[in-house]
């Protein structure tokens, strides 16, 4: 009787602790997002929570916030090009280094993933030094090149993972049935690794769209980027328009994330 009581206590205390801490963690994860969305519907001028009343006035203000809109457009263009470059260069590189045990492939793998752990700010400064030494003025082009360096690891990582999960028997059977290598690549390999490329490209796009450290050094005065604009707005005055912009970004992100989860199993691939 006493041992069973002790076992029950043991079981409940363990699962209770896990549930409590996990619950705290979930609140910590979700609360900030929920709060930003709620505050963005305030009818007041401050970021008070809960808001005194609700309105859409800050979304209307967003429609006239030309600075924010221009910055958002710049960020979209740079992220689009950086993603395109990352997907093309990253997929080709992943094909070369995945499933290979050669030392050169292992070294390249480490090299291509290294921007993930290096402080991006240090890289931004280094890239600025290179461009100024070469006499290339900072411009949207330098931004795209810099962003590609920090975004390409995401594509390489997810594509290499997708390639190494592929069953080699499929490729063998395709070849033994007489298919050429190119045909096998198009009809067998590519469909199998497409979710990996897609997930990597999505993460790369988000990383570029959200990048501040590299943009700080590589943009010219005329090119305003959305996260930098918002950051500077926040450092100056706490403007509710930023809350509305943030909520819109959250909405778009959640929709895209759910779509990508369905299409490419995003969460599995992000775990790396």
């Amino acid at each position: 009787m006493r041992t069973s009581l002790r076992r029950d206590f043991d079981w409940f205390s363990f699962h209770g602790t896990v549930l409590l801490l996990a619950g705290l963690c979930l609140v910590l994860l979700a609360a900030p997002t929920v709060i930003v969305v709620v505050v963005s519907f305030t009818n007041g001028f401050s970021l008070r929570f809960p808001p005194p009343g609700y309105s859409l006035r800050w979304y209307a203000a967003l429609a006239e916030a030309e600075q924010l809109q221009a910055a958002a457009w710049n960020s979209l263009v740079v992220a689009g090009w950086a993603t395109l470059l990352s997907v093309v260069l990253g997929t080709a590189a992943a094909l070369a280094i995945a499933r290979s045990r050669r030392l050169s492939a292992r070294l390249l793998d480490s090299l291509f993933l290294s921007p993930l752990v290096l402080p991006a700010l240090a890289f931004g400064l280094a890239a600025l030094m290179l461009f100024s030494l070469a006499g290339i003025p900072v411009s949207p082009l330098t931004l795209i090149l810099g962003h590609t360096v920090v975004c390409v690891p995401f594509v390489v990582r997810t594509t290499v993972a997708a390639l190494s999960q592929m069953d080699p028997v499929l490729l063998e059977s395709s070849t033994s049935l007489g298919a050429s290598r190119l045909y096998t690549f198009r009809r067998v390999t590519l469909p199998l690794i497409r979710p990996g490329i897609l997930a990597g490209g999505f993460i790369a796009f988000m990383a570029s769209f959200d990048n501040v450290p590299v943009s700080l050094f590589l943009r010219d005065a005329a090119t305003d980027m959305l996260p930098i604009r918002m950051w500077q707005d926040l450092e100056g005055r706490l403007d509710v328009t930023v809350a509305a912009a943030s909520s819109l970004l959250i909405l778009v992100t959640v929709v895209l994330a759910v779509v990508m989860e369905r299409a490419a199993g995003l969460s599995r691939r992000m775990a790396g």
């Binding site: 363990f14 699962h15 963690c25 900030p32 709060i35 929570f49 290179l130 918002m230 992100t253 994330a257």
Partner: protein, 301 residues
Amino acid sequence: MTAGPAMATAGPVAAPGRPVRAWTAAYDIRLALPLGAFFLVFFLAPLALLLLVSFYADPGMTRFGLDQYARFLLDPFSLRVLGATLWLGVEVTALTLLLGLPLALLLTWAPGRLRGLLTLIVLLPLLTSVVVRTFAWIVILGRQGIVNAALLGLGLTDTPLKLLYTEGGLVLALAQVQMPLMVLPLVTALSRIDPNLADASAALGAGAWRTFLRVTLPLCLPGIVAGCLLTFAAAITAFITQSLIGGGQMLFMPMYLYQQASSLNNWPFAAAIAIVFLVAVLACVTLLNLVGRLSRGYAQA
């Protein structure tokens, strides 16, 4: 795109007798050339240049010397900034592990539907803009924020507490921002553990705590190390969150670097800060990787 033809002609076509070997290195290594060249020009060359610039003795960059490193390593202020940055990383990593491990456990227990919802909540911060996430913490921790409103409402305090621009507030905000980087590798590691092992442990009379400490925890050590590595590296380089939540009084390495480079235009010193920071990050990452390799051997044994 040069990739197509190289692929079509590369390597021997798998003959029926030895297909597996031919396919293990399925594609030509030359496919990595475009990205390799890109990295050489836009990644390795800048880093080499950064190293070179850090060896200039004066801001005007006229003569070489170790002056910048001496200036950093002999200056108590700079060393304090480095120490504070690394310590911040340790605090954030510890908090994310403490809260992230239970959540990862819960995720592995949860049935399909609930699991999907929980996964979305975990992923959300990773996908939301860093500025947005940080902004949310300003709303929460500010003088008119929720925490202060609640404390005032409950009569626990008469004047709003200063939460923003404190280290505690910063650690909390960074923990939220970096939590997914901890939880996702943990979930992967936990879901690889054979559930029979926990059952066996229970059948042999071990309680829930003992099973967790002696079976589950050692087996998911590789996941813990991977999560700590990602969280630590992300927390110490989280420039935006550090500057917005930490405010002007707390200085960490990224902001220190940025100030020297942009406002003071002292490139050699900024480069030296960057190199010291890079070396410190790499040293921590290598150390953790080593621990990870050891723990993986342990987990498989």
